[in-house]
Amino acid sequence: MIYVRDNKKYSTDPDRLRCKLFGYATKTVGDKILSNVKVGTGIIPSIKKKSMFSVILRTVIKSKTAFAGLIIILLLILSAIFANVIAPPVFDDRLGDYLPSWSRQDLNNRFQQPNMEFWFGTDNFGRDIFARVIHGSRISLQVGAIAVSISAAIGVMLGAISGFYGGRCDNVLMRILDMALAIPNILLAIAIAAALGPGLINVMIAVGIGGIPGYARIVRGSVMSVKEQEFVEAAKSSGATDATLIFRHILPNCMSPVIVTMTMGLGSAILAAAGLAFIGLGVSPPSPEWGAMLSDGRRFMREFLPMVVFPGGAIALVVLGFNMFGDGLRDALDPRLNQR
């Protein structure tokens, strides 16, 4: 049976129907309307409710740059996950064993220009640059994700406490963070990395700490505006504790700027980590860190470009990807630019 309401036809398929209200049942033969009966408990179709996630995804995909960014990020993630499939270990004749493709040296094949066997050529130790770039994505993604998590976790906590309690606590926390904010991010990271010494974990900590004040400021502002809203007072009036208020009611409503900042922050964290590795404060040399590769290649830049172009290009592409995706995400999450 087909119901007609507001000149639209709806089937009585139960999946599409939800509430029973009034409606019109129309009986037709061909184009001719035989009867148009108002039925007391007619049926209107369930309103297709779009989840926020699908709305955001659609907005992001609609924007070309954001979509390109998303593709780059997906490629990065795939190459990190499947690094051993894309660049599998190579059998070494001399040792009679498999060696990781990114560290296997072949001094007979140094400085090879890109060819069918070595897509990105080989470096000064005869290592496959393509394998190194692919495996480098693991380090970059790891450093980026963990550094951003460190700064977001601590920054969000500090911002939430400072914004929620206000007063003296807010003043003290914010002044301390202002001091940290006065030092340029990369400089702070260099100082911390120099103090902690080289190594993957230390790089993550160094880059992560540098990002804390930014998150704290953003979250503090959002918390201050959200905590004035009526639903927070309503929650208070139903006996919610401060922790419930902050974690269940206020923070989830402050997340969209944090998500955008985290996306953009991933790009800059990767860049900062590469920068630290480039000046020798980051991941130690044999690992295929893009910044370290760039640093190694610098010496041969005039004669042999591939050692510089490919890791450098990888850094640039990934940072670009995160920034484009972050931009798109911001547009999608910003209610003022709401054109859905």
Binding site: E230, S237, A240, R248
Partner: protein
């Protein structure tokens, strides 16, 4: 009346907001008593201190700038002014809960309605989360929302349905006292009627006392047993509903009734009360209503009148009734 008969008894409550520009005297020497299962209407103009009174009962007056200067609030015979914050948290939502004016803003936009109801239950009752969710769905059914909408977010509901959800949250722990702060102001008339009907039924089912804050005398006539008329932070007249509607005494109450169009009486123009509500930062001396009162006497500006009982538990705070 003894204390045990009264669910809530407020004596001499005074709440001030201390701001840079001066002291806002929002509530002054307010006295109300509410029996078990009784509902009282708190009527008054905007700024008469109705909402501040309600927040005062929950001890949620924003501090600073608000401060409870004086008075006692007995809930079940216990003075809650003396209670600590953790003790108050156990009372809020459990013994006393509140329905806010605007259902559009009083629900958390990023939590499903079922989770929001379950949260209140979990805050006050020890039970596994799954059981709380079940109870939340039960509450939704009670307020007339089918459980298949339970996992929806507030923005997917209409205003009337959201207010139903708010009511479900307020009643989830079967509170003994429900404070409804203009619960129907933001709704259109047909929905208002539905929501009021629902509140009335649920109030009876849960045997809850209720404070209905409103400026709509029609709602009072519909739902309340007693009425307290507030003016400039204090109750100027307090009586049973029928008594007050038939026999209003205080000049302000009479003025209020004269400001409502009456379909039975064809009058050319309404008789509004002349003047404006006084600035709560600068209340007139004596009776706060005297500058607007037709029957004002010279002594009205000299001292604040006490509440005079004129029989039938009808209390009027006006010097005219001082026998």
């Amino acid at each position: 009346m003894t204390e045990s008969n009264n669910m809530l008894e407020i004596k001499g409550l005074t709440i001030h907001y201390v701001t840079d520009d001066g002291v806002v005297r929002a509530v002054n020497d307010l006295n109300i008593a509410i029996g078990r299962g009784e509902s009282i209407g708190l009527v008054g103009e905007t700024g008469a201190g109705k909402t501040t009174t309600a927040l005062g009962i929950l001890k949620l007056v924003p501090n600073p700038p608000g401060k409870i200067i004086d008075g006692e609030i007995f809930l079940d015979g216990e003075d809650i002014i003396k209670k600590s914050e953790p003790e108050m948290r156990k009372i809020r939502g459990n013994k006393v809960s509140m329905i806010f004016q605007d259902p559009m803003t009083s629900l958390n936009p990023v939590m499903t309605v079922r989770d929001q109801i379950a949260e209140v239950i979990l805050l006050h009752e020890k039970m596994p989360a799954a059981k709380a969710l079940e109870k939340a769905e039960e509450m939704l059914m009670k307020v007339g929302i089918m459980p298949d909408r339970a996992k929806d977010y507030p923005h997917q509901f209409s205003g009337g349905m959201r207010q139903r959800v708010v009511i479900a949250i307020a009643l989830a722990c079967s509170p003994e006292l429900l404070i409804a702060d203009e619960p129907t102001t933001a709704l259109d008339v047909t929905i208002q009627a539905q929501v009021l009907e629902l509140m009335k039924n649920l109030k009876e089912e849960f045997n809850t006392s209720m404070i209905m804050i409103t400026h709509d005398l029609g709602i009072v006539a519909e739902i309340c047993d007693k009425v307290a008329v507030m003016y400039a932070g204090s109750v100027v007249e307090y009586a049973d509903k029928l008594e007050l509607f038939k026999n209003p005494k205080h000049p302000y109450t009479i003025g209020l009734f004269n400001s409502i169009p009456d379909i039975g009486n064809d009058v050319e123009s309404l008789k509004p009360i002349k003047g404006l509500m006084p600035d709560p930062m600068n209340l007139p001396t004596g009776c706060p209503f005297h500058p607007r009162c037709d029957k004002a006497k010279p002594e009205c500006s000299e001292k604040i009148p006490a509440g005079y009982d004129i029989g039938n538990n009808h209390i009027v705070k006006c010097i005219l009734f001082n026998q």
